[in-house]
């Protein structure tokens, strides 16, 4: 007997809903992560708009896109905390190539270079940014375009980049960073961005939205499961009739 269309559809939906639930929990876990950009998954919401006539199992396109909308900006007063306002990313140098991040919680390393919280070099327009040895960090000032000066003397400028058309091709790499898998896409200097010193960009996860999504997903999951058991009961009765 051919497995019914309903069972196939239901198991595809359940699979997609489970994945969406994973994404919601990941967003909620990162509600306090500086510079975090929420992952969106529109599967549950797309269910309502699907045309039932054209719906067929196996065609659920589950894409997790990153929502690069601005997160709230909170003041910390730390001279090496930077929030980006607008479209742009900091560049982190790693041995495996550049990573991009919105998390501007920086430190200096033992060589006085500006690094991220994992000790990786933050890219400047002309190589790493080095704070002169005899400068107190409180004397650092950073202008909106990312130019850094220490006690009035310019010491460098952050390299800020943007992917105007290809931002959704960035892949999260963990540690608040993204990487670009497509080698043909080169970043361009960011123009619509402002650097704020002494601030951090908070996570853009909105708790209420995620909770609503969580409820929606768990209810849809339940409904799918119900239809699966209804289907089983129905086919069971059919079998009973046929077999006497």
């Amino acid at each position: 007997m051919k497995m019914s269309l309903i069972s196939e559809q239901v198991s595809t939906s359940i699979d997609a809903l489970t994945r969406e639930f994973n994404i919601v929990t990941h967003n909620l876990a990162n509600v306090s992560t500086v510079g975090y950009k929420r992952q969106c998954n529109a599967f549950s919401k797309s269910l309502g708009t699907q045309d039932p006539q054209s719906y067929s199992p196996g065609t659920i396109e589950l894409n997790s896109t990153l929502d690069f909308s601005q997160g709230g900006v909170t003041q910390t007063g730390r001279p090496l905390d930077f929030a980006l306002y607008g479209k742009g990313l900091f560049v982190i140098e790693t041995p495996d190539g550049p990573l991009y991040t919105r998390n501007g919680t920086f430190l200096t390393n033992q060589n006085n270079q500006v690094v991220d919280s994992l000790g990786r070099i933050v890219a400047g327009q002309a190589g790493p940014i080095t704070v002169p040895n005899n400068t107190d960090l409180s004397l650092l000032s950073v202008t909106g375009d990312g130019s850094i000066s220490a006690g009035g003397a310019a010491i460098g400028k952050f390299r800020l980049v943007d992917f105007p058309d290809d931002q959704n091709k960035l892949v999260p790499a963990g540690d608040s960073c993204y990487w670009m898998p497509d080698v043909n896409i080169a970043p361009v200097p960011a123009e619509q961005v402002v650097v704020r010193q002494g601030y951090q960009e908070a996570s853009n996860v909105k708790i209420v939205d995620e909770l609503v999504d969580m409820i929606l997903v768990s209810r849809l999951y339940e409904a799918n499961m119900k239809s699966l058991s209804a289907e089983r009961d129905a086919s069971g009765s059919l079998m009973n009739v046929a077999m006497g």
């Binding site: 876990a29 960090l137 409180s138 892949v171 999260p172 497509d182 699966l228």
Partner: protein
């Protein structure tokens, strides 16, 4: 489904660590020279099922990929070395450093430690020591016949004997680090050098970057009560919501298990 459980659990663990850090900040709201800690969360690794740009049909590339994150972890805690308020105590041996320098301290085992706590005392031998009794480096002794002691902006320690003669008995040296946030906290208001902090440069107060010494003042903790309490509320709510996610996952699993009767 199990992945969602562990993801939400990382969220709860992270928020718990945040509460630990806030509690320590709040406990030290009156600790002289204390610097508040700030926790840095970062997202954990992702499982990529499909990379963006994957060819889904000939000539058609998927505009975005499919990735699942694994939650959050605390990447580091950073000491925030902003200045604390200066409190006027009027005590001649209380010093506050206005700037980035640290007072150097020798422990009984002979190791160097660094502190911002300038409530100095004299011990039985007349040496300048910290509240814990550790000698400051370089050692400075106050003669027993000194009638009064004063510490200058540049760290010079002046004494005046009973006959009114003034003399300089030593100069406090300050140390500063390329990365003060990389210093390791030892308790007792002491910090120690690490590979991350870099090696200290020593010098006299008033020089570039060391800051000046203000006698008769103490630097209070830079913990802001209101900020910490707001962070505490946020942490508590975020913890609660992550636990809700676990409960929702549990409900979903129960629905699934009820299919088979």
């Amino acid at each position: 489904m199990m992945k969602a459980f562990s993801t939400a659990a990382t969220g709860m663990t992270g928020q718990q660590m945040l509460v630990d850090v806030i509690a320590n900040n709040l406990a030290n709201v009156n600790t002289t020279g204390f610097k508040r800690s700030q926790i840095n969360f970062q997202d954990l690794l992702y499982v990529t099922l499909k990379e963006p740009g994957t060819e889904v049909a000939s000539g058609i590339n998927s505009p975005s990929g499919t990735e699942f994150g694994s939650g959050v972890y605390a990447a580091s805690t950073v000491k925030v070395f902003t200045a604390g308020e200066l409190e006027n105590t009027g005590r001649p041996l209380d010093i506050a450093i206005s700037g980035g320098g640290f007072i150097q301290v020798t422990t009984p085992s002979g190791d160097l430690r660094y502190t911002r706590d300038g409530s100095l005392q004299t011990n039985a031998n007349g040496e300048l020591v910290t509240t814990t009794g550790y000698a400051i480096e370089p050692a400075i002794s106050i003669p027993t016949d000194a009638a009064s002691v004063s510490i200058e902006k540049d760290g010079g320690v002046n004494v005046m004997d009973s006959s009114g003669t003034q003399s300089v008995v030593g100069t406090l040296q300050l140390a500063r680090f390329p990365n003060a946030s990389g210093l390791s906290s030892e308790g007792d208001n002491l910090l120690s050098e690490t590979p991350a902090s870099g090696t200290p440069t020593t010098g006299t107060a008033g020089e570039n970057g060391f800051g000046t010494i203000l006698a008769g003042f103490l630097e209070k903790s830079n913990v802001q009560m209101v900020t910490e309490l707001v962070n505490l509320i946020n942490a508590q709510r975020a913890y609660e919501i992550n636990s809700r996610a676990i409960r929702a996952g549990d409900d979903m699993l129960r629905t699934a298990s009820q299919i088979v009767r």
